[in-house]
Assembly symmetry: C2
Homo-oligomer: 167 residues x 2
Amino acid sequence: MARNRDFVARLFAAVDSVQGGDGISIILWNSRGEIMKLAEYFENTRGTAVFATADANGRVDSAIYSHPHCLADGILGFVMADKRSHRNLLTNGQAAYLFIEEGDDYRGVRLQLDLVEETSDPELVNKYHRHPAKNCELPVSDTIYFVTFKVKEVRELVGDDDPGFTL
Amino acid sequence: MARNRDFVARLFAAVDSVQGGDGISIILWNSRGEIMKLAEYFENTRGTAVFATADANGRVDSAIYSHPHCLADGILGFVMADKRSHRNLLTNGQAAYLFIEEGDDYRGVRLQLDLVEETSDPELVNKYHRHPAKNCELPVSDTIYFVTFKVKEVRELVGDDDPGFTL
């Protein structure tokens, strides 16, 4: 397992991303050293996520969040209530998403996100709100938004390793 | 257990803080509904913490961190390497500390922190660096700092409940 971990670390250092035309994908390695697309990673990996934002005055906030919805071309979407995370995004569209895989060894991934757009169109919100994650920062608010982000950077959960690929 | 949880929620809503002269303490309830000082809470509660910062341009970062050192009068201290979290603090002293208790039910606490001061004095750093937590964002850097913060706000891990007490 340690050898496998070293192998993954070398892969991380050597390979920034696998890119191609319009169909750019974000490539990740899961805890077993298998290469996965970001969408597959989140589909197949249980864990806990923290969504961090800051307002225009630099006041930072963080909240437990659900897995992202992985859309095309490195765009992620989240269903958000109009609470502090969402309000911060109105004045500063930069966010950090940290995902801790289930288990005791602090594996996971950190994503640097830039706001793309948001909608409160009920049809779209409901499409993605079908299976709300337990305990995420959600409902109870009047308006629910579906907010999309572009992934600007991917890092391992712990350490300096920084593939640094932008899409 | 649910009744106990409701009781704690009502306590949270009703009581902002318990204050007294110079010896101001931060009061928290642990997952069993017992009232604890912040220091006791962190001494007695296992979990995972995320430290979030933002630079002067509002670029947010988050990292796995250790439990805080609870000093007098609501001051917390962290041993920090000169990585992104620490560098962000040089231009924006506001941070958010999120602590997830061990277990499946998303209990924990969120602290809003304001930078007080930092030192790289080896004697002080080593005093607090005796038992470095596994997997926190630490060593490997040339300079290690001991950085202190004032707690500006305490919230539950999940939800809107916001005792909002400042010290």
